[in-house]
């Protein structure tokens, strides 16, 4: 019910969501560029996961992934296709975090040390990190991406919905009114 009073709860939620979007955008822009500027180093790190044996696929992953992250970071900062970008990032983060986890387990097993004492460069763009911290960071990134899927915080966005169906357009019109 609109009482004419500002809905502070909603304003706070929208503001927080915009900040989350900018934070996520900045994180992916930074990590993407830090890898894109040193693609050979990233190639070596990707290779350690033994994902693919074919050099063409390996090169394509190492060449494209950093720029793809950069692209997603830019979209989030500008507020373009926000939910689609957030979903794409979630779909990237979940399997990648699983790979990092498995690699940490392999290192732990090889070295016979505590799981949280495992420290390595996972190719995440932030250099060598303790695995428990890395997993917590990735979990947080997944949560924040999920938050953006709620569709709040449309302020300061160039084109929040890339695809504007008629029904969605009507919805937006209603919101503006």
């Amino acid at each position: 019910m609109n009482t004419g009073q500002p809905n502070w709860k909603r304003i706070a939620l929208n503001l927080a969501t915009v900040l989350v979007r900018w934070l996520l955008g900045a994180v992916f822009l930074y990590t993407g560029l830090s890898k894109a500027l040193h693609p050979a180093d990233f190639l070596k790190l990707v290779r350690q996961y033994d994902l693919v044996q074919n050099s063409l696929f390996l090169n394509a992953i190492a060449a494209a992934l950093p720029w793809f992250e950069t692209f997603c970071g830019l979209l989030l900062l500008a507020g373009v296709a926000v939910r689609g970008t957030a979903l794409t990032l979630m779909l990237m983060l979940v399997p990648f975090t699983t790979l990092v986890f498995h690699r940490a387990l392999a290192i732990q097993s090889a070295l016979g040390i505590a799981f949280c004492a495992v420290k390595f460069d996972c190719g995440c763009g932030t250099g060598p990190e303790f695995i428990c911290r890395k997993l917590a960071e990735n979990f947080l990134l997944v949560l924040l991406s999920g938050w953006l899927l709620t569709g709040h915080g449309r302020q300061f966005s160039l084109r929040f919905d890339l695809i504007k169906s008629r029904s969605r357009q009507r919805g937006s019109d209603v919101i503006r009114e």
């Binding site: 050979a40 090169n59 390595f120 569709g151």
Partner: protein, 218 residues
């Protein structure tokens, strides 16, 4: 600018479609950016000939001593492991005293003994073994003109990188071998620039023969 928050959730299918569009456009953008970037990777090149790399997955479990960052360690002899790995690939490992001997060899002045630095441009410029040629094996085309004739004429070629976990010297040596440099000439200095600097040996700052030679430990 848009304002407000949605009164109703958009259909899931539109978000999915948006995600697919982001993925497709993002992939095209990423490959184009890699293509344009001067540091971009060549998709069709095999950067790891003959399975180069001293990585966790490549080492037998009993000998696994480090991860990618080299931050975990267990008692073992890394030099022996490295020598065995290089031998498997037909390459010979040399230690610091042999590297120093070659550095002071009179043939070094006539480019009959050549040092090749397999790191990329920035660390090379920050300090390399004096007179060493820059040869980043991930962008070899930039260096072929300068390095190939010298390596063909040389009697001994010492390839090095950072040392420790770094396997770029191995990659560079195999690359040089693959393009026709005789294997007998090639040796890998396993300790690399880190060991060289740690022992207060001279390093050259900037380009090759810049004249700016310093002894870091002195």
């Amino acid at each position: 600018m848009q304002s407000g928050s949605p009164d109703r959730q958009p259909a899931v299918k539109w978000v999915l479609l948006e995600a697919v569009l982001v993925a497709v456009i993002g992939a095209v953008f990423a490959l184009a950016a890699n293509r344009i970037s001067p540091r971009g990777l060549a998709l069709t090149r095999n950067y790891f000939p003959e399975g180069t790399g001293r990585l966790v997955s490549a080492a037998p479990p009993a000998d696994r001593s480090h991860n990618a960052a080299g931050t975990n360690s267990r008692a073992f002899d890394p030099t022996q492991l490295l020598a065995a790995e290089l031998k498997e690939k037909g390459l010979q490992l040399i230690d610091r005293s042999q590297a120093m001997q070659l550095f002071h060899d009179p043939r070094f002045k006539q480019d009959m003994v050549v040092f090749v630095d397999a790191r990329d441009e920035q660390p090379y410029r920050e300090g390399h073994i004096p007179g060493a040629y820059e040869f980043d094996p991930y962008h070899p085309e930039k260096y072929f003109d300068a390095v190939l004739p010298v390596c063909k004429a040389a009697e001994q070629i010492v390839v090095y990188c950072n040392g420790g976990d770094c396997d770029d010297s191995e990659t560079a040596a195999i690359l040089l071998r693959d393009i026709g440099i005789a294997n007998r000439k090639l040796v890998v200095y396993g300790g690399g620039i880190t060991e060289w600097i740690t022992n207060s040996l001279p390093v050259e700052i900037g380009g090759r023969n810049s004249g700016d030679v310093r002894n870091p430990g002195k």
